[in-house]
Point group: C2
C-alpha cells in the first residue's frame, strides 16, 4: 500500500473519536453527523506528509491534522447551506438532515474546536500554526464569496476564475502541507516550496475536475458527464469559452445557458472544443503540475523522502486529461 | 464622566478602523456594515475594566477587547440569520441588507479575525486567552442551540432556562472580565472571582430584561411593554408561570399563547403576577446581584479599584425591578 493510503487509514482511525460533548444533542449530533461522513481525508494526510518530508511524525502533527479535517468540514457545512445543497456524498447535508439554524451553529462550533486542537500544540509553534490557519481560512472565505459573486456576474475572466479556485481550494491544501512542515522544523525556504507545491497541485486538480465533467470517462470518473453544464456552473471551461470564443460562439453559449434543449450537453461540449477551452484546460493543468514538481524538486531533502508526495499527486491527477 | 463611559468612548475610537481588507467587497462590506452599527460595547469595556482592576491598561488588553467585540458581532450576525430577524437596533440586519450566504460568510470571516487579534498578543498569555475564548465560544453556541430547542419544547423548567441564559449571555460577560484580568496578571483565585462576578451580573441583567418587557416603565425602558408576550417568547416569567402556576392558570396561559386577543398583554401580565412569576424574577435578580457583589468583595485589591465595576453594575441594573 502506498504511504498516503496507509496514512489515510491511520488518520481515519485516529480521527474516529468523539470531538464534542453530548449536550445539546441537536448541536453536537449535527456536528458529529457531518464528520462521520468520511470523505477522502486528503487535507490531514497532506499535513502528515508535510511532516514526514522533513522528519518522523510527531504528536502535534496528528492534532493539527485533526484541526485541519475539522476546518474542512466546517467549510463544507456552511457551503452546503449557502449553496442550498440537499446531498453530499449521497447523504442528506447537515441542514437537510437537521435544519439550517442547527447546521449553521454546528459549523461555528466546529470552527471553535479547530482552534482548541491547534491551541493544544507546543507553544513553540502554536502561534505560527494559528496564524497560518487564520490567513488561509480568510482566503477560503474570500474564494467562496467570489464564487457566489461570480454566479451574478455576466463575464468573468479566466484569471479571475483561477484566482477564485486558488483561494477557495488550493491554498488550504498548500497550508495543510506547510503546517506539517512547520511542526517538523522545516526551513522558511522549504516551507515556501512545499506550500507552492500544494497550491499548484490544488489548481491542477480543480481545473482537471472542471474538465472531467465534460470530457471524463464516466466509468472512471464515477459520475455522468455534463452536470456542471446543466447547472450553468461557471467552470474553467465555460469561463474560458465565453472569454475567448468569437462573437457568434458566445451567442450560442449564452443561448444554450438560457434554454435547456435535450442536447444541451453535447452542444456545449462541442463549443468547448471549438473555442479551444478543452485544450486550454489541459495546458493549464500541465502548467500547474510542472510548477508544483519544480517546487518539490527545490526542497532540500533526500529524493526518497519525496516519493509519497509524488505518489499522492499522481493519484489525485492520474485521471486522463 | 464615569470610568466605564470614558472607556466606552475610548474603545469606540480605538475600534473604529478597518478590520478587514477591501476585496471581495460584498464579503468585507457586510462584515464592516455589522460593526459600524455601534452598540453599547459592554463586553470590550468589561475586558478593559478587568485589566484596570489589577493594574494599568496594557496594549494587549486593547487587542483582546477588539477580539471580544468582534466575537460578539459574529454571534449577532449568525443569531440574526437563525432567528430570521429583519432589524437590529433599527437597521436592517446583515442578511436583510446583503443576503443570507454573504451574512453567514461575513460571520465566519469575523470569527477568524477574532483569533488573528488574540494570536497577536504576547505569547505569555495568547494560549490562555485563546483557550478561554474557545471554551466560552462553545458555551455561547450551546446556549443558542438550547434557546432554539426550547422554542420546540412544550415545558421548560426555570433551571433549564437559567442554564440557557448563563451559556448564551452570562459566560461571555464573565470571560471578557477574566481576559482583562489574565493580561494584568491577576491570581487564579482573583480570576475566578471576577469571572463569577461577571456571570452573576449577566444573569441578573438577563432576568431583569425579561421582567422589563412586562413590568418596565416604557418611558425609561425605551420600548413598549409586551413584545415578548406577543411573540410567545419563553422568558423567565413565562417559563416560571408555566412551571409554578395551578392547572387552571397553566391552561389560561396556554390559551393566551394559542390565541391573540386584543388584551393578550394585560391578561398575561396579570397571570405573571397571580402565579408569582414577577416576584420570582425580582428575587432571582436580587440573588444574582448579591452573589456578584460577594465575589467582587473577595477580590484582593484595594476597594477604590472596584468602583468602576460597581458603577457599571449599577448602570446595567439600575432600572427598577
Amino acid at each position: 500500500m502506498k504511504r498516503f493510503q496507509q496514512l489515510s487509514q491511520e488518520f481515519s482511525t485516529y480521527f474516529n473519536i468523539n470531538h464534542f460533548p453530548d449536550q445539546p444533542e441537536t448541536l453536537y449530533g449535527a456536528a458529529s453527523y457531518m464528520i462521520a461522513d468520511g470523505g477522502k481525508r486528503v487535507r490531514p494526510v497532506l499535513c502528515l506528509l508535510g511532516n514526514e518530508l522533513f522528519g518522523p511524525l510527531v504528536a502535534d502533527t496528528w492534532k493539527t491534522a485533526t484541526a485541519i479535517e475539522l476546518f474542512h468540514n466546517f467549510t463544507l457545512i456552511h457551503d452546503d447551506i449557502m449553496d442550498k445543497a440537499p446531498l453530499r456524498r449521497g447523504r442528506p447535508t447537515v441542514h437537510a438532515r437537521y435544519d439550517e439554524p442547527t447546521a449553521l451553529l454546528a459549523g461555528d462550533v466546529m470552527l471553535l474546536r479547530v482552534y482548541e486542537y491547534l491551541n493544544q500544540t507546543d507553544p513553540r509553534h502554536a502561534q505560527t500554526l494559528i496564524k497560518l490557519l487564520n490567513k488561509t481560512g480568510r482566503e477560503v472565505c474570500e474564494g467562496q464569496q467570489m464564487d457566489m459573486d461570480f454566479e451574478k456576474t455576466p463575464v468573468i475572466t479566466p484569471d479571475q476564475y483561477l484566482q477564485m479556485i486558488e483561494l477557495k481550494t488550493a491554498v488550504f491544501l498548500a497550508a495543510s502541507l506547510q503546517m506539517g512542515a512547520e511542526i517538523a522544523g522545516a526551513t522558511h525556504s522549504d516551507q515556501q516550496h512545499i506550500y507552492a507545491f500544494g497550491k499548484n497541485i490544488g489548481l491542477a486538480f480543480q481545473v482537471q475536475d472542471d474538465w472531467l465533467d465534460s470530457f471524463g470517462d464516466p466509468a472512471t470518473f464515477g459520475k455522468q458527464n455534463g452536470g456542471d453544464i446543466l447547472a450553468n456552473k461557471k467552470t474553467f471551461l465555460l469561463v474560458h469559452a465565453l472569454a475567448n470564443g468569437s462573437g457568434e460562439e458566445k451567442l450560442k453559449i449564452e443561448d444554450l445557458m438560457n434554454s435547456s434543449p435535450a442536447d444541451k450537453i453535447e452542444k456545449m461540449i462541442a463549443l468547448y472544443k471549438q473555442t479551444g477551452a478543452d485544450q486550454a484546460a489541459s495546458l493549464a493543468k500541465q502548467h500547474y503540475i510542472e510548477k508544483a514538481f519544480s517546487h518539490l524538486g527545490l526542497i532540500e531533502v533526500a529524493a526518497e523522502n519525496k516519493t509519497a508526495l509524488l505518489e499522492l499527486a499522481d493519484y489525485l491527477l492520474e485521471r486522463s486529461i
